[in-house]
């Protein structure tokens, strides 16, 4: 017993030493700030986007949405037990996918446009072929021991999931089996985002941490702290060198991957609502963040100022997305509607 205690004490000492080392290394490169770097940049002024379409069709709260790579189709998930695939140019519903479990929390479109995936309190990720005559269940990925909070396709043969069981997982869709399990978070994983080159991904969790993972090695490379509550939303900055997070602590933060720390925060004393979702405009200059206060607030990512708001929903904005061509923003809400703005 004494030997165990001695070992634990030694490990704790090493742990404390390493944490101090990391903090010192971060401090050593903390020679400036984003406000300093963006001082000479012209303001974007007031960003006033117009509501172009309201998509009606769901009968209950919308929990998730995801754009197709074609920047025209979009899939939404509601706790009315349906996935709807929309043609956003016409506002028409193209496909309705009935769900076995209505408690859906996440939805994803495969880059090919052939498949969609969803999951939630059933702890599973179900993949559907939507190009068949009627939507066909391709796979039921069943191994998580907690709810499915987020899923993203790498291709038609691989998908990444994040779960309330604190792990993320890479699945092989040909076999339906887990390829790699990513363990390191100590709270429910709430959100994930894939890097453009698909070599890494980032996750945000209820332990208030964001983590960068090597997709092929299965290891956690970096951990970002600072938030004081659950991270609900996470996204890569378009250059791939920074990460934006949104949290229940009512703030968003930008962490630079190469400096390994927060470079700017986005908060306002008048904003007392948690951030549920976020998406960036194509240049990375604008952050569209959905909040519990029924609005999507627009932030200037470089200057840290609020530059606009998308108002119109009658309940929490639960999901936000910008298509690949950057031509607009879609917001989804607990009020059962999706809105398109540009």
């Amino acid at each position: 017993m004494a030997a165990e205690k001695a070992e634990m004490d030694a490990l704790k000492k090493e742990c404390d030493g390493l944490r101090a080392q990391i903090e010192a290394a971060r401090k050593a490169v903390n020679d400036s700030s984003m406000s300093g770097a963006a001082g000479g940049v012209a303001s974007v002024g007031r960003v006033q986007l117009k509501l172009r379409k309201t998509l009606k069709g769901h009968l209950a709260k919308i929990y998730a949405m995801h754009w197709s790579a074609d920047s025209r189709q979009m899939v939404s998930a509601s706790q009315d037990g349906k996935l709807l695939i929309w043609d956003t140019f016409t506002g028409n519903k193209l496909v309705a996918v009935p769900l076995k479990s209505a408690w859906v929390m996440s939805v994803a479109f495969a880059p090919s446009g052939n498949l969609v995936a969803s999951g939630g309190l059933d702890n599973m990720c179900t993949v559907y072929n939507i190009k068949a005559a009627s939507p066909k269940t391709l796979r039921e990925l069943d191994a998580h021991t907690g709810y499915l909070s987020c899923c993203r396709f790498l291709s038609d043969s691989e998908i990444l999931t994040a779960s309330g069981d604190t792990t993320c997982c890479l699945w092989d869709l040909e076999t339906g089996k887990q390829k790699i399990i990513f363990t390191n978070h100590i709270g429910d994983c709430m959100s994930l985002a894939l890097s453009g080159d698909m070599n890494t991904f980032i996750s945000g969790a209820c332990d208030s941490l964001a983590k960068l993972w090597d997709l092929r090695e299965g290891t956690c490379k970096q951990t970002f702290s600072g938030h004081t509550s659950d991270i609900n939303a996470i996204s890569f900055f378009p250059s791939g060198n920074a990460v934006i997070t949104g949290s229940d602590d009512c703030s968003c933060k930008m962490y630079d991957l190469r400096s390994d720390q927060e470079v700017i925060g986005y908060q306002d004393t008048s904003l007392n609502a948690g951030v549920t979702s976020l998406a960036l405009s194509n240049s990375g200059r604008l952050i569209f963040a959905g909040y519990d206060d029924f609005n999507c607030h627009i932030w200037d990512s470089l200057k840290g100022e609020k530059v606009g708001v998308l108002s119109g929903h009658d309940n929490r904005v639960s999901c936000t997305g910008v298509p690949e061509d950057g031509m607009g923003v879609c917001t989804g809400s607990w009020d059962s509607f999706l809105k398109l703005w540009n």
Partner: protein, 72 residues
């Protein structure tokens, strides 16, 4: 289950934490003055190809409801 098995579980966990911190401590960090400037440069270089910044003309707006033209 013996008391020893319980404690060595803690040791394994603590060792994992140390190993993870070693990985994270080992990275080379770049000065914020350089990385922030790089992020600013990216935004500036891409602002002309960001429709939500530049604006979208009515004729090329895919989401705008087109008014139909009626020949009288």
């Amino acid at each position: 289950m013996s008391g020893r098995t319980c404690s060595s579980g803690h040791v394994v966990q603590a060792q994992k934490l140390v190993d993870q911190l070693r990985v994270e401590a080992g990275m080379e960090r770049i000065k914020i003055s350089l990385t922030a400037a790089d992020l600013v440069r990216f935004c500036q270089d891409h602002r002309r190809s960001d429709p939500l910044l530049t604006g979208i003309s009515a004729s090329s707006n895919p989401f705008k409801d087109k008014k139909t033209c009626r020949l009288l």
